[in-house]
Symmetry: none
Subunit: 122 residues, 2 copies
Amino acid sequence: MTPSPVSDLGGFLKEQRQQAQLSLRQLAERSGISNPYLSQIERGLKKPSGEILQALAKGLRISAEQLYVHAGLLDADPSGGERSALDVRTAIRADPLLTDRQRGVLLDLYASFVDDEPMRSS
Amino acid sequence: MTPSPVSDLGGFLKEQRQQAQLSLRQLAERSGISNPYLSQIERGLKKPSGEILQALAKGLRISAEQLYVHAGLLDADPSGGERSALDVRTAIRADPLLTDRQRGVLLDLYASFVDDEPMRSS
DNA sequence: GCATCTTGCTAACTGCAGCAAGCATACTGT
DNA sequence: ACAGTATGCTTGCTGCAGTTAGCAAGATGC
């Protein structure tokens, strides 16, 4: 975990907590986690799960996504060339108007256009 | 964890894996996790961390956000079904990895699956 | 037929997330 | 002064995430 401001979850948590004028114990109680554990997270000694991050976001009255970004679970800005490839696949797979077979055909065709490795043929 | 399709991570993972025509071991290897663990996740016996979900998304070539939604770490996109059709078209049009010709082929194919009227060629 | 490989799973194990109990220090009220 | 409270942290513990070693069954090639 690099100590850069963007990815420093603990530092960000401490900053948000202080901005909300909450003690470590108050935030821990509001979030439903133990205060020693919160202390360890803020000091970068422990690495919390997504559920703990959700609980902390709730206690801080901020979005969980913000904490996921600092924890490295989400990208800050989703734009970018490589992300677009994932969007097409994601959109096809999520489309309720397509049958499974149609979905497979579209995905295969897309893969043949974009990938070096097409999907395995049955 | 309710067994509804929206929140059933294991079922969703298995479905995506089968759609991608990967064996359990192939996906585990592509994702960099152990195959018994993947088996346990698919059967709902274990609850993976965000990092494992990221790795699985990478192995499946889908967005991690989709898996977070199924794992209950993110809310699903609040827009409705009609939006899905726009998403696939939008995603294809915006994809920088596709040539104009490939884009046209994909859009026409999609339209033939979903619409009665194929896209008019420009 | 047999040998080999693939597949999904079981069982035992290790490391760490997250907790409870409690410490040391600072602050407040009498 | 002292007692009580608040604060952030230390320590030891438990449960579970995630792994390795290996099993049973099915598939494949000779």
